[in-house]
């Protein structure tokens, strides 16, 4: 063999390994170009820098000794809730929701889902639940009347449901596996979001027992089990899972870190139970012993850290930090900026909520934080209020 043949083979092999570009590349390019032109015009007109939006998909350079350069950060620190795509590295804010109240007084989610063609978030009131698959091309959706008898696979580029997966038992929650090939759908006998009359309490003293949300009414769950469904074929199986006395009215199943098991929370110890796909209880995987529903970020992609909770004593605004734990021992290994870790971008970066510098009325904004650096890059505008308040929105992330 000659060296030129080897160079040729090596280059072709390397080229063949490259995945396709993330969807929405053309729109990102057009957006960056538009912004650059805006910026040039604004500069020419001696406009203030504040008028120029700084949302650009540009490489973020870091100054640390390790190379933690992160490509393609798309930030919109002036937007809350966001209108244009927020993303860092391979992770995008795929959707977010706010709460509305339906005709029955039940809280329903109003979603804004990323349209990958335009790079903007589009409001929809059609769905009660939305889960976005990695790749930002497909979302699994449930209609507003829960429990639903079919799961829609929504093509995010067209906004149309491409396919319906019918289910014999009603489902009220749906989540993708980490690789996007499977769905776990939680089955319920009745709508778990309806308000529920608490059996014993009359807090307001009007002589009647009070209405409350299902979440804090243990023992009243109508949950029956879960489906594991293959996304491509729509085929799958249902498994019964008993134990309603330990559950909130809504207690959904989700995949674990490697997508081989499902798990759900419990009201009492051990507070979380893992199951195989046949619905049999299994032990907690050793590297998820210290994961918790409170810490949404879970394990880092390399499995080295589990995202932990807020580090006490760091409340002074602009200083808040969260813990990073050894996933096997739960011991704090280090800390990172941010008040609530939401999702891992890669092994060194996370997206987090962070308190804004206003001490009198602390609010949150999405930020990009880096392990080993105190720098925080704002990704969104400042929410109007904390969790649960009007003006607050809940992010949903997916790989792009």
């Amino acid at each position: 063999m000659n060296i030129d043949q080897l160079v040729r083979d090596s280059l072709r092999e390397q080229a063949a390994e490259q995945p396709t570009p993330a969807p929405g590349l053309a729109d990102r390019v057009l957006t960056v170009r538009r912004r650059r032109r805006t910026r040039a015009l604004a500069a020419a007109a001696a406009a203030t820098a504040a008028m120029v939006t700084i949302a650009m998909a540009v490489p973020l350079m870091n100054t640390g000794k390790d190379d933690t350069r992160l490509a393609h950060v798309s930030a919109h620190p002036e937007q809350t809730p966001p209108r244009d795509m927020i993303a860092a590295g391979d992770l995008a804010l795929a959707a977010y929701y706010t709460w509305e109240t339906d005709a029955h007084g039940a809280p329903v989610r109003a979603y804004r889902i990323l349209d990958p063609k335009t790079g903007t978030y589009v409001k929809t009131s059609k769905w009660s639940r939305v889960a976005v698959a990695p790749g930002l091309r497909t979302a699994a959706v449930l209609e507003r009347n829960l429990p639903a008898r079919r799961i829609g696979l929504l093509d995010l580029r067209t906004g149309e449901v491409e396919r319906w997966i019918p289910v014999d038992r009603g489902v009220a929650s749906v989540e993708f596996s980490p690789d996007g090939s499977k769905l776990v759908a939680t089955t319920y006998g009745r709508n778990p979001d309806l308000r529920y009359k608490k059996a014993k309490y009359d807090y307001d003293g009007d002589g009647e027992k009070d209405w409350t949300l299902g979440l804090d009414a243990p023992g009243q769950s109508s949950r029956t089990g879960f489906y594991i469904l293959d996304v491509a074929s729509g085929e799958g199986s249902w498994s019964e899972v008993a134990g309603a006395d330990q559950l909130g009215v809504r207690q959904d199943f989700a995949f674990n870190h490697d997508g081989k098991l499902v798990q759900s929370g419990l009201f009492s110890a051990p507070y979380r139970q893992y199951y195989d796909f046949a619905g049999q209880q299994v032990a907690v995987p050793a590297n998820e012993a210290y994961a918790s529903w409170r810490n949404e970020s879970g394990l880092s992609p390399d499995g080295k850290f589990a995202g932990g909770g807020f580090l006490r004593g760091t409340r002074p605004v602009g200083q808040s930090r969260s813990k990073l734990l050894d996933p096997y021992t739960g011991k704090q290994v280090t800390t990172v900026r941010g008040a609530e870790l939401l999702a891992w971008v890669d092994n060194k970066h996370l997206i987090a909520w962070d308190f804004t510098p206003d001490v009198k009325s602390p609010s949150l904004r999405l930020v990009l934080v880096t392990i080993g650096s105190d720098e925080v890059a704002p990704l969104s505008g400042i929410t109007k209020g904390l969790d649960g308040a009007a003006g607050h929105w809940t992010p949903i992330f997916a790989e792009r």
């Binding site: 063999m1 000659n2 060296i3 030129d4 080897l6 160079v7 040729r8 083979d9 090596s10 280059l11 072709r12 092999e13 390397q14 080229a15 063949a16 490259q18 396709t20 570009p21 590349l25 053309a26 729109d27 990102r28 390019v29 057009l30 960056v32 170009r33 650059r36 998909a57 490489p59 350079m61 190379d67 350069r69 490509a71 393609h72 063609k117």
Partner: protein, 188 residues
């Protein structure tokens, strides 16, 4: 850019970005993020002249090649890339495959990442895109002699960086004497 041109641009990017990204990553020495940056910058330039471009793919490719070898690109900090480690004794192999071919491809890949951008670009154009020397010269805006000598020196540099390649026969380009001594970039 009007709505129709934007739609046209989107169609082009959707249909060709996968192939363009492959080239961009190879030009960047296997660095996926640098390749994405390179492609995105090339597309931004193309979008600015969309109305005047007759052959969009050829235009974007030319920007990719020229951008990569321009001095501006060299100002960007270089990242350490992780490349697979070949086994020991890569030339000794026991499968029915070409002796040690897979290992040698890994060795080559690591060595390619250490070439200068210009050296690598010439090899990508000659051996991945399979372009004749005259076309490479036209694309890079240099003489055929420069293409020939750069190819020659790039292959020689690969042999220096990867002594495992000693057993391989010379390429055609290495058999031709190089009479062109145009300056080429040298990275310390």
């Amino acid at each position: 850019m009007d709505a129709e041109a934007q739609e046209n641009f989107r169609d082009f990017v959707e249909s060709r970005s996968s192939a363009l990204l492959k080239t961009a990553v190879l030009l960047s020495g296997g660095d996926r993020h640098a390749g994405e940056d390179l492609l995105q910058n090339a597309l931004i330039k193309a979008a600015g002249r969309w109305h005047r471009i007759e052959e969009p793919e050829a235009y974007v490719r030319q920007i990719l090649y020229r951008q990569q070898v321009s001095r501006w690109r060299l100002k960007w900090p270089r990242r350490e890339l992780s490349v697979p480690e070949p086994r020991e004794n890569p030339t000794r192999h026991t499968t029915d495959d070409e002796p040690g071919a897979a290992d040698l491809r890994i060795v080559i890949r690591a060595a390619l990442a250490r070439l200068t951008a210009r050296q690598r670009t010439v090899l990508v154009l000659r051996y991945f895109e399979d372009l004749p020397e005259a076309d490479v010269a036209h694309l890079l805006g240099c003489s055929i002699g420069t293409v020939r000598s750069t190819t020659h020196r790039s292959l020689a540099r690969l042999r220096e960086l990867a002594p495992e390649l000693a057993a391989l026969g010379p390429a055609d380009a290495e058999q031709q004497p190089s009479h062109d001594y145009s300056p080429v970039e040298v990275r310390p």
